[in-house]
């Protein structure tokens, strides 16, 4: 593959254009200045390479480093920090507690945001109202974690927790429209944080514009036969 020779580090990313999990990896790679080959995957017709690289889950994203697969976005983020220690770190060196906090919040985003968001746009009636209430709780919790005066979750430096959540800022718009709320009103600190993230080249370049995410979800709803 000609593409693999492009990058001296031999990094390839198996991904899907709108995936927030894949976008985490793209953001991290750009933040670290690591060149890589992006390989768009057809999830309706999965490639041999994807199935071979992630036989357990058959999911993207998968990072291939000299052909060896690393699966799961947060694991990929850790791997990039550890395999490329001279690149801009996602986890703060020299502070075990700060690292633990970053991991805690990245894990919180993983456990909560996507699953609740999916229920929010997929369901109707009472279960949807429940999902909206839960999403507001999640967003307020994240807003609280930011607190006042902190630029990013870890402080001054854009780090693991920020990368974990940044792609979902595009999904806020869809959650707002389906859920009938405003992130700006409910969680002003989170909204301000989202704007700051959007100004970073790595985020601006890699995160799907909110309207496109909304259209994508509408397309999914049609396909699932949801009104």
């Amino acid at each position: 593959m000609a593409g693999a020779a492009k990058s001296g580090h031999q990094l390839q990313l198996l991904d899907f254009w709108v995936s927030p999990f894949g976008q985490r990896c793209r953001i991290a790679l750009d933040e670290k200045g690591l060149p890589y080959e992006y390989l768009e995957q057809d999830l309706a017709n999965k490639s041999e390479l994807l199935l071979r690289s992630n036989p357990v889950h058959k999911k993207i994203p998968v990072l291939l480093h000299a052909g060896r697969p690393v699966c799961e976005s947060l694991i990929i983020l850790h791997y990039l920090d550890e395999a490329f220690p001279s690149s801009a770190p996602l986890l703060p060196a020299g502070d075990a507690y700060a690292r633990a906090q970053a991991r805690f919040w990245a894990d919180y985003v993983d456990k909560k945001v996507y699953e609740c968001g999916t229920r929010l746009w997929k369901l109707k009636g009472e279960p949807q109202a429940q999902a909206v209430a839960e999403m507001l709780d999640i967003l307020r919790t994240l807003d609280g974690a930011l607190g006042d005066g902190r630029e990013f979750f870890g402080g001054a430096a854009f780090g693991l927790a920020d990368v974990a959540l940044a792609p979902f800022t595009s999904w806020f718009h869809a959650y707002e429209r389906f859920g009938g709320f405003s992130v700006e009103e409910e969680c002003p600190r989170l909204a301000a944080w989202a704007k700051r993230c959007a100004q970073r080249p790595s985020v601006a370049k890699n995160v799907t514009p909110p309207e496109k995410v909304y259209d994508f979800i509408c397309g999914l709803k049609k396909r699932f036969g949801i009104e």
Binding site: V56, H65, R68, V70, C71, E72, I75, I76, H78, Y79, D81, E82, A83, P85, P89, A93, G94, D95, A96, Y97, R99, A100, R103, F104, D107, Y108, E115, R119, L123, E126, P127, T141
Partner: protein, 283 residues
């Protein structure tokens, strides 16, 4: 590869006491207790009544309100896998839980996530169900175990005594503190989960893990676990019968997970579940 020496807490902080909030039947709590013992770190243990959580716990873990929470140098750390990595970072001079190589670390993390995201809930679903639903859950557990068995046989962990190599590591702690429930659930439900013929390497690993001194000091006595499990099984099946007529949960695995988290066990099993012998007495 990042040196963990750079991530230590300052020496004064490292010397400060450790306090662990936990629940005697919680495998997540056992993970932390085991890790602390493996690293030779002294700690104070506070048993939580999960049916009536202490103010201190709720203050230390406002987000999840769960155990385990480790408090060190005045700071609270929830989530077992976060805690385990913190221990490696903060005490780099102790035996490491994670391997040194970045790719091996990624592999260990992957299977830890698999244990928590797939295997654990599947086992929980077996425990919470009967009949055809249970049969499907058992098949799921077997599929999951088969994947781990394959890694032991031909894959990432080929030829190893433990997932961590010659000594236990993060994945052993995560998978091991949970796998002891397999035999307990088998006894209580009458269902075969870990057949030594079907999963010989997993079986051998589990026996080796359970024979370690630090593990024996951590895992509660099997008859205590059996009593507890019988009580929870009874509760789950009664609640399940009631829930069957209620609107279906949007997500069955999440419902099963909710039913089988330790805090729910205690809530449903009532005050008796959290009581019993004091924290230090596990036998």
């Amino acid at each position: 590869m990042a040196s963990s020496e750079n991530n230590a807490v300052p020496p004064a902080a490292a010397a400060q006491p450790l306090k662990l909030f936990g629940s005697w039947a919680s495998s997540y709590t056992h993970r932390v207790q085991l890790a602390l013992r493996l690293k030779g770190l002294e700690f104070e243990y506070a048993e939580e009544d999960l049916g009536s959580k202490s103010e201190e716990l709720l203050r230390c873990n406002p987000v999840y309100k769960k155990v385990p929470v480790l408090v060190h140098a005045g700071r609270a750390l929830p989530e077992s896998v976060v805690i385990l990595q913190y221990l490696d970072d903060a005490w780099p001079e102790t035996r490491p839980l994670l391997p040194a190589d970045a790719f091996d670390r990624a592999t260990a993390r992957f299977w830890c996530h698999f244990a928590d995201d797939k295997l654990g809930p599947a086992v929980g679903a077996v425990f919470a169900s009967t009949g055809e639903g249970q049969e499907a859950a058992v098949r799921q557990v077997h599929e999951n175990l088969a994947l781990i068995e394959a890694e032991l046989r031909d894959g990432a962990f080929k030829g190893r005594r433990f997932f961590g190599g010659d000594e236990v590591g993060l994945l052993d702690v995560v998978l091991g503190c949970g796998s002891y429930w397999l035999a307990v659930f088998e006894e209580v439900t009458g269902v075969r989960l870990v057949d030594a013929d079907a999963f010989p390497l997993f079986h051998a690993w589990l026996r080796a893990f359970e024979a370690l001194d630090e593990v024996r000091d951590t895992i509660p006595a099997v008859d205590r676990l059996l009593d507890y499990a019988r009580g929870v099984r009874h509760m789950l099946l009664s609640a399940g019968a009631a829930a069957a007529s209620a609107p279906a949960a949007a997500d069955a695995p999440t419902a099963a997970r909710r039913l089988t988290s330790p805090s729910t066990y205690d809530k449903m099993a009532g005050p008796a579940a959290g009581q019993g012998r004091p924290a230090g007495d596990l036998q």
